[in-house]
Symmetry: C2
Subunit: 227 residues, 2 copies
DNA sequence: TTTCAAAAGTGCAACGAGTCAACTTTGCCA
DNA sequence: TGGCAAAGTTGACTCGTTGCACTTTTGAAA
């Protein structure tokens, strides 16, 4: 699920949405390149959904997309990457959730909201549900997703530190960032995701209030959303 | 670092310690089997330390130990496993730390002590330091260690739940177990491991006190539970 | 327009990890 | 001693991934 809400998951390939970021590819070359990439991704997802991730080989995907395996790996860093889009906006949304939160909202509360939003997936959309099932049921894909998600740990920690006026490598901010991000995986593995998220952020909420109050230079500890 | 204190790391192969668990192998057969396993592990570690993990192939290790690759994989589940011992006692120590803690010691406090003990490694022992360096500098080995470590999450969560009289699948206990175990990895990546452990468990300490008190229904945090 | 070199795309063959299916050796025990 | 089962061997095979060489495209100079 690389794109919970607005859209960035690989599943979107089937919806012909016009991305505002790249309205029209500049040159003929880039357009062809994008088409090749899309053909590979489409073939891969179709085969994965049909027979399961482990039952499909790279060579089969390359054949289905009518390219060589070398070309496939020029477009995607590995087999797992065939399932996910890059989704550069994840990090921006995490940082924004912390920086632009409303007054009176604590940092853990803001992160809780974003985590819940990301866990919520519409079971109505059968195609998306199938995609989710594929990722959830394949350990290597779950781990890849987890790595992608945790890659933003540093940026989130820095955003939190900036918000409370601490050094960029502040330990407490790093701890909060790590635990908050980990909550998504924890909840996903739980049989009551929402309840787990609530409990986790309840712990972080009161725990964070404690360490923040006792942190060295007491900058405006309140919720005053700077920025 | 699969064996911080008393000993269970693969590095022990060089110290001829007599393990109380298996004082003397029963038959010649099992002794030979253990010897083969040890020869493979020794050859692997020696080569890894000499040239680096990625620069050594399975076949080289098998050759050095004078066995076939098939035999090697009969003894070890994969290349990463060549570096770590099974270490079944980790889980026992985690559960014991929670169950047998002294009166007046909170569960997070007990887990903090165990985490700190596990992070502390003697830099005096050059062989062990080299082993640590190998694991730390090889991403795939770090990840493998993390997976090994987190595998005990369920058992720890159950122990915590039992201790506070909650159901075995209690969400709060699962959250505490997960966060407490994650702290080890978080601290290892930090430039001030001990400080990070202190901050992380400070968060968990006060956070846990909050949810434990309010367990049952509404957690004492007024976050608008939409949904 | 022609020419040409760099860049980008492509394909083949190969490498390393890991598996599989037969077959041989070896310890164990009746 | 004979026979069973575990341990080990061999060789070929699959699969993800990469290096190398070859072809096409592109942009700029002549």
């Amino acid at each position: 699920m690389s794109g919970g809400g607005a859209g960035s998951g690989r599943i979107e390939r089937s919806e012909q949405v016009e991305r505002p970021e790249r309205p029209e590819p500049p040159g003929r070359r880039e357009r062809k390149k994008a088409a090749t990439r899309q053909a590979i991704a489409d073939a891969a997802l179709a085969l994965f959904l049909e027979r399961g991730y482990d039952q499909v080989s790279i060579r089969e995907i390359a054949d289905a997309a009518d390219v060589s395996t070398t070309t496939l790996f020029k477009h995607f860093s590995g087999k797992e990457a065939l399932v996910f889009d890059e989704d550069a906006q994840i990090e921006a949304r995490l940082v924004a959730a912390v920086r632009d939160r409303e007054a009176g909202t604590s940092i853990p509360q803001a992160l809780r909201a974003l985590t819940l939003e990301r866990l919520k997936f519409p079971t109505e959309d059968e195609a998306f549900a199938a995609y989710t099932r594929l990722v959830e049921s394949t350990p290597v894909l779950r781990e890849y997703w987890h790595r992608m998600w945790m890659r933003h740990e540093g940026a989130l920690a820095a955003a939190i530190a900036a918000e409370v006026g601490a050094a960029p490598d502040d330990a407490a901010s790093a701890v909060l960032a790590h635990f908050a991000l980990e909550t998504a995986s924890l909840a996903r593995a739980s049989k009551d995701p929402k309840g787990t998220v609530d409990v986790a952020f309840a712990v972080l909420e009161s725990g964070w209030a404690g360490v923040e109050a006792g942190s060295g230079s007491g900058v405006g500890v309140g919720v005053g959303a700077g920025g």
